[in-house]
Every structure is written in C-alpha cells, then in structure tokens.
C-alpha cells in the first residue's frame, strides 16, 4: 500500500513537471507585437505586419510615420519573427534589403535588447516592435500576439525577472 502510494506520488510529480514545462514553453513561444499607447491607425494582421517590416507600408491611415524596430541579427526572437511573419531566411532578407537600399529604403532600426525595444516603442509615436509576451510592460500596448511554431534549436529564452501581462 505504502509502495503504491509512493509510486503514485512519483507519477504525480513527473506529470506536474511535464505540465510545468509545457506551460513554460507555451509562455515563451508567444510573441507580442507592441506599439506606443497611441496606437497607429492600422488594422493589424500578419500581412500588414509583414508589409510594415518589409517597408512596403511607410505611414498609417492618418499619414503618421511608422517606425518598425528589430532585435539584433542572430537574436532567437528575431529569427522566429522573420520565419513566421516575413517568410524569409537570412540570405533572402539580405538580398531584399540590398535591393530596397538601391531604392532609398532602409531596413528597420535595430535595437540592442527586448528592454530597449519596449522603451523605444513606449516613447516613440508610430514605433512598432516585437518581444516575448513575458517582456511586455504597462508602458506599451499589445496589438497582436503571435504563437510561434516550435523549432528545435531555436527555443526562445526564458524571461526571469519579468512579469507577464495577463
């Protein structure tokens, strides 16, 4: 009886660990698209977001400049964003931006970290950024959340010390 109880406890603990791991993954694989509290006059969907980040859309519906910002090249979240939203790999994107540069169009600004993205977006009207959901704070508005597909080797970093918004 005691042995059965111990085994039952072990299974329960294992199940709890697995559930916890799944919840953690689910949380870390959610990306939030953020703007300043005064949101650009746009209908946000994946296609619009793609065109903003490819600089095919320059202003919102009121003629206000839109400023998309990127994380540094090599950041797991940027890779996930490029794969999920832009549907381009690094070489394709580089070729795309070289051609756009010839037309006078430059790629989105690069900021050093998710914290920098949140701070920049909060203070810059028309700015748009993306961070993990757990990195969002009350200074910005979430206009879209994107569930990222699981890609082995491209797991997103955890967010210690951050409080995710509900």
């Amino acid at each position: 009886m005691r042995g059965h109880f111990r085994q039952w406890l072990e299974w329960l603990a294992l199940g709890g660990l697995l559930a916890f791991a799944q919840v953690s993954w689910a949380a870390s694989s959610q990306m939030a698209v953020i703007t300043a509290p005064d949101t650009p006059h746009l209908t946000f969907d994946q296609n619009t977001l793609r065109n903003i980040y490819l600089k095919r859309i320059f202003v919102d519906g009121r003629g206000r400049r839109i400023t998309p910002v990127n994380l540094p090249s090599g950041a797991p979240l940027r890779k996930a964003f490029a794969h999920t939203i832009l549907h381009m790999d690094d070489d394709q994107l580089q070729d795309y931006w070289n051609k756009q540069y010839f037309q006078g169009v430059s790629p989105p600004y690069v900021l050093a970290s998710p914290d920098a993205v949140v701070q920049f977006v909060a203070k810059t009207p028309g700015a748009i950024g993306y961070v993990a959901v757990c990195q969002v704070d009350a200074t910005v508005r979430v206009v879209m959340t994107i569930t990222l597909p699981s890609r082995p080797g491209d797991e997103l970093p955890a967010c210690p010390g951050h409080q995710a918004l509900p």
């Binding site: 065109n51 320059f58 010839f102 037309q103 006078g104 600004y109 701070q119």
Partner: protein, 368 residues
C-alpha cells in the same frame, strides 16, 4: 565631364565615407534619444549606408570595376559606375532621394586611357507617403518596366551584362510623377506603379539613356523619352517566392522620333535550391518601323553558401539594327562578404557581335 573632376569626386566620396565612419562612429540605425538610454547605435555595415540620426540623412552608394575581353575590341577595364546615394527624411511623410553618378571615371582599352567620363544626376525625386497603400513620387526615377531596370546596379544583378530586353526598347529613366504602393489582394500583395513622363519639358540632367549597355557593343542608339505614360503591376505569391509582373507603356522617343506601345511580362521564382527569372517585351510603333520583341530566361543555382552558378538564354529581335540575336550567358556570382560581389561570365551567341559580342567579362562591385 572632365575625368579628373570625376576622379576627384570619387576620391572625395571615399575619403568622406571613411573619415565620417572613423570620426563619428556613424550609425546604420537610429538610436533615438541616446542619452542614458539602453539602445545603442548599430555599427556601420557595407550595403546599408551611413545614417546620421540627428538629421535623418543617409549616405551610401556603389562602385564597380570591370574587365572584359570580347570579340571586336581590345581587352579593356574600367570603373563603370561610381554612384552616390543621398536619402533625406523630411517630416513624417516626405522623403528625398538622389543618386549622382560618375560614369566611366577610369577607363582603359588595351594600354590606352580613354576619356569618356560623365557626371550626371541618375535619379532625383521626392516621395510623399499618403497612406499605407498610396505614395506619390515626383522627379526623375527609373522607368518601371520589368524587374531588372528597377534594380540594375552591378552589386545587385546576377550577371555583368544586361539582357537586351531590359534596355533596348524604352528609356531607362522617366521624369514626371508616379504613384505606387502595395495592395492586399486575396491574401497576397500586389505592388503597383503608374507614371506619367514629360521629359520634353522637365529634363533633369543631360543623361542619355543608352539602348545597348553591354560591354564592347558597337551600337550607340539612345532612347530618351519625350513623353510617356504607363505602369506596372507585380503580384507576389507564396510570400515572395513567386512574383509575376506585367508592364504597359505608351510613349514617344526623342530619337528615332516616333510613338510606341510596349507591353512586358516578367517573373521570379525562388526555391531553396534553384531560382528562375525571366522578362519579355513586345514593342510596336505607330509608324511602319519594325516591331521589337524578345525575352530571356535565367536560372540561378546556389552551389555553396553565397556562391552561385547562373545560366541565361536570351533571344531578341531589334529594329535598329534590324536583326535577331540570341545570347547565351554562363556566369559565376560570389558574395564573399555582405556588400561585395565578384562575378565572372562568358557570353556567346548568334548575330550578337554588334549588341553583345562574344567574350569574357569579370567584375568586382561594392555596395557601400
């Protein structure tokens, strides 16, 4: 333009870029309000230009060095293009762009220096962004026919030589007004360009649009617009992996003075292992001048990282001279680092001597 002036310009641009990059730690990205903030300027990288956040100014450009040994002329080398781009944001909805080009600042045939340098305003326009789907452009811009003419800089093209169907039948530049943008259509993107040209009254610079731009060509036909009206659409499918474009253009050329109608089709299909590109045009005239028609199909195969093998076949029926040429081009395109492109190609064909003579070409190009 005096060649020494062009050289001076070239050296000046180089010194300006190097000096500015060294002295100010110039930025490729905006850093916003940097005082005590967590965001930092991105370092300068080739192919993105120098950005000055305080002024909204970006300076960049490209240059290429070419060597060619083709039938009918002595082996030659030249710096064909030394172009400087300036982009300036003006408020939230306006942007100024200009490209100033020194053509052939250094040129030599055999052991003889050749002085055919020119300095010109290649492009000069201001864009007004109205809303997410509509933009206006005013000034001198590239004629939106096919893909090649819109992105023709040597560091951005697969081969050194240019297909005849991308230059021979229309002016490469237009001066006037254009509206353009991207529209969502059935879940995909449709890019559009509609323009009106009035070069006859608005000419900017004294640029002469050569119909035949290939190295070693003996023909010097020029295709400047007097007036033109036309447009282009480009439909993107499967993300950007398949694009299909169509162009239509009604225009009058300066010489041979006549009215023409041109229609064109183009496509680009990119996969992980191979890509295909093609363009075709058909031009008719209101006079009894012969029709002009032709097209090319090109394949690009990545062999190793950024090392590509390119094969192209083109057939073109020209009206001046009146002949049908076929041109086959085999090339290697290598991008050792971002912003640097090395190319070698061999060109051959039939009835191609005057427009794209048989021979070897090589180039090194930089996008800075």
């Amino acid at each position: 333009m005096n060649r020494y002036l062009c050289r001076l310009l070239g050296h000046g641009v180089a010194v300006l870029l190097l000096g500015t990059a060294y002295a100010s730690g110039a930025m490729a990205a905006d850093n916003g309000d940097s005082t005590g903030s967590v965001w930092q300027p991105a370092p300068y990288t080739l192919g993105q230009g120098l950005y000055f956040p305080g002024t909204g100014l970006r300076i960049g450009g490209y240059a290429d060095f070419n060597f060619y040994d083709v039938q009918g002329t002595r082996s030659s080398y030249n710096v064909r293009d030394l172009s400087l781009f300036l982009t300036q944001d003006i408020g939230t909805q306006w942007q100024l762009f200009t490209e100033i080009e020194a053509a052939n600042p250094v040129s030599s045939r055999g052991r003889t220096d050749v002085d055919d340098a020119e300095l010109d305003v290649e492009r000069l326009y201001i864009d007004y962004h109205v809303n997410p789907y509509l933009n206006f452009r005013f000034g001198k811009f590239l004629t939106p026919v096919g893909e090649w003419n819109l992105v023709h800089a040597d560091p951005l093209t697969w081969t050194i030589s240019r297909p005849l169907s991308t230059s021979a039948a229309f002016a490469l530049h237009a001066t006037g007004a254009m509206m353009f943008g991207t529209l969502p259509v059935k879940g995909n993107d449709l890019d559009y360009w509609v323009f009106a040209d009035d070069t006859k009254n608005l000419n900017i610079g004294d640029d002469q649009d050569n119909a035949y731009t290939n190295f070693g060509t003996a023909e010097t036909l020029q295709n400047n617009f007097r007036q033109a009206f036309g447009g282009r659409v480009l439909y993107h499918l499967s993300g950007d992996s398949l694009s299909i474009g169509a162009s239509a253009l009604s225009y009058e050329l300066e010489s041979p003075r006549d009215k023409y109608f041109l229609s064109g089709l183009d496509f680009n299909w990119t996969t992980h292992y191979i890509s295909f590109t093609g363009e075709a045009i058909y031009r008719s005239s209101t006079d009894n001048r012969p029709d002009e028609r032709g097209g090319f199909v090109q394949t690009e195969i990545p062999l190793w990282r950024r090392f590509y093998f390119i094969e192209r076949y083109e057939r073109y029926r020209s009206s001046t001279p009146e002949q049908t040429s076929t041109i086959r081009t085999t090339a290697i395109n290598f991008k050792p680092i971002e912003g640097i492109v090395l190319k070698v190609e061999y060109r051959d064909g039939t009835h191609n001597l005057s427009l794209a003579p048989t021979g070897w070409l090589a180039s090194a190009a930089i996008l800075f």
